[in-house]
């Protein structure tokens, strides 16, 4: 008998319900476990793909971080406009500053969920070719939980940005771009290396481990798939960024 994926999931769920259901990890244990014992924790997440708590936590935290650094971002925007020779009336400048803050907060609230949807979609696409079994919900939960390092990244960036002057807004880095001159913020090399962020790499590794737990496959294969896609994105983004900044 041919079973659909949904049937298989339901059957598996039925099988699970037939066995004595052991309580999973608590929210705190998952948070802790993602960082310290990711393989085991993602097995738990795959079995019980709950994500709303950590999703709200991350989205709200991102919004708070954006709100905290918004004065610096506004000041940095104002300095950039001044250096580019653009003179604005005060009311227009005030409106621009407000828009910068609102856009920053909205981006922090909206972009992460979209990114998790994309990651889950890409993993679902991978499952179509690699005969992996897993629901979109499981993959989405893995994507949300694997971005816990981004939460840490937000904390680190917020602290560092608060410690620096507004003109050094772009200087704060947790990527390999740290090893480039601080004055270089638009070269291809800078844009390329800035994607090799400690927290992004960490998140990708967690995503591969989580997907491996869902698909019951080796995380290495999924890792190669994810890193290949990510590298294509990095090179494209760096190339386009450099092109539109007029450097090439």
């Amino acid at each position: 008998m041919n079973l659909t994926e949904q049937d298989r999931v339901e059957k598996r769920d039925e099988g699970d319900t037939q066995e004595p259901l052991r309580p999973g990890l608590s929210f705190g244990a998952r948070m802790w476990g993602v960082l310290t014992a990711p393989r085991m924790t993602f097995q738990d997440i795959a079995q019980r793909p709950t994500f709303w708590g950590v999703l709200l936590l991350q989205v709200l935290a991102g919004g708070v971080f954006a709100w905290i650094i918004s004065p610096k971002l506004q000041e940095f925007t104002r300095l950039t406009l001044e250096q580019s020779g653009q003179v604005m009336p005060p009311d227009l400048m005030q409106m621009t500053m407000t828009m910068v803050m609102v856009q920053g907060i909205l981006a922090a609230l909206i972009i992460p969920p979209l990114l998790w949807l994309l990651q889950a979609g890409l993993l679902k696409l991978y499952a179509q070719f690699a005969l992996g079994e897993g629901t979109f919900r499981q993959l989405f939960a893995v994507a949300v939980w694997s971005s816990i390092p981004s939460l840490l990244s937000g904390i680190v960036h917020t602290i560092l940005i608060q410690m620096t002057e507004a003109k050094d807004f772009l200087t704060v880095q947790t990527s390999l771009a740290l090893f480039l001159p601080a004055s270089d913020t638009i070269s291809f090399l800078y844009l390329f290396l800035s994607q090799f962020d400690f927290f992004i790499i960490w998140g990708l590794v967690l995503l591969a481990l989580g997907a491996g737990a869902v698909f019951r496959q080796r995380a290495t294969r999924i890792g190669v798939y994810l890193f290949t896609l990510w590298l294509i994105y990095v090179v494209t983004a760096a190339g386009l960024g450099t092109y539109f900044s007029g450097k090439i």
Binding site: R22, Q43, M163, T171, Q173, A182, S183
Partner: protein
Amino acid sequence: MQQSENLPKAGSPPFKGQFFSWPKHLLIIGGIILAIAILIGLNIYRINQKEGVPVKVVEVKEAPIKATVYTSGKVTVPQREEIISINGGLIRKVAVKRGEIVSAGQVLVELEDEEQALAVRQAEANLALAQANLNRTLEDTAPNEIARAEDTVRQAQANLENIQQRLERTQSLFEQGIVSRQELEALELEEKLKQSQYDTAVRMLETTPKGVLANRKALEAQVAQAEAALTLAQKRWEQTVLRASRDGQVLQLEVEPSEYVVPGKIVAVVGQTEQLEVKADLSEMEAAQVQVGQEVEITTEAVSKTRYMGEVIEVAPQAITRPTSQGEQTLVPVVIAVKGENALRPGYNVDLSIITGQAEAALVIPFETLIETDEKTEVWVVQDGVAHYREVTTGLTDDLQVQILNGLQVGDSVIINPADDLTEGTEVKINGLEREEKGKNHD
């Protein structure tokens, strides 16, 4: 299942047992904290690192420099003759070809000459007629007229003397009372008449040679006029054959056989191409730098990759104005003699580099380093990572660099395109990758 066995048992605390072993956790958490600390530390170090203003510099070096004035001109032939047709008429023969070497007197072009030949014959006839009239006057007319006047004088004189003798005798007889007063008065009247006739004859004798002379002069003038007409006709006839007046080369040949030329048309140009000149115009500022005797590098697209040398031989003492699309332009014409053998031809357009000054070992820097104001010229020099301004005195300049006479030394690092807001003592960072050595371009 293996995975299930690794998970904590239901109801077990999350930080106990095999799943959460404290030593392993502490190690991992310690590593994470360490990594984050390193990232924060690196950021703090990077942000607090005092980084100077990035600048590009060039080192002052010794290099040859040539100050030049650039212009363009046209190659011309200095000793050049335009052969002009004085007469109008049909071309009978073109005796040379364009580019042919000719010698002085060589026939270049012949015009039909029948009309001029007839004009010569007519002039010769007129001369002969005038000469004959003059000869006849000189040989016949003049002597007879003078002799007749002399005879008339002599006859009038004789008549006068006769009447005067008769008057003396009659007066004596009147005093003796032999003759009457009426007879005496009648003789006195007759004596006055004879005296008058004599005076008229004398005047006639006196005026006759002058008239003859005047007539002769008129005839002589007619002869001269006829001679001049003959000469003119002969010259016109000769001018139907156009010849080179000097040795040289036929540069232009504007006519063909059977072509009709109007008087004044240039039919050919002959010149000596061994010595070529270039004529060019300079602006007033450029002309101020140019003097007779300065060397000139001559290039032309027509003879690519070859550079000829020349010498300024004339700078016009007076400027000229030429109309342009934007008004008029004041220009100073200059003449450059081309030296040595060359492949240039009259009429070529050439580019000229007039070397107004040169130095073999000058201190040079690029133009982009200079900050020029009305009062002074400055550069920014980097010493020990700090920018200092220096006032400099400039000398010769070429396309890219300028000679520094005072203010810099060999090896000084001068900032290229310094920022407007650069101030004395500003810390700068020389970007090694962007270090330029423009002086090499001219080595």
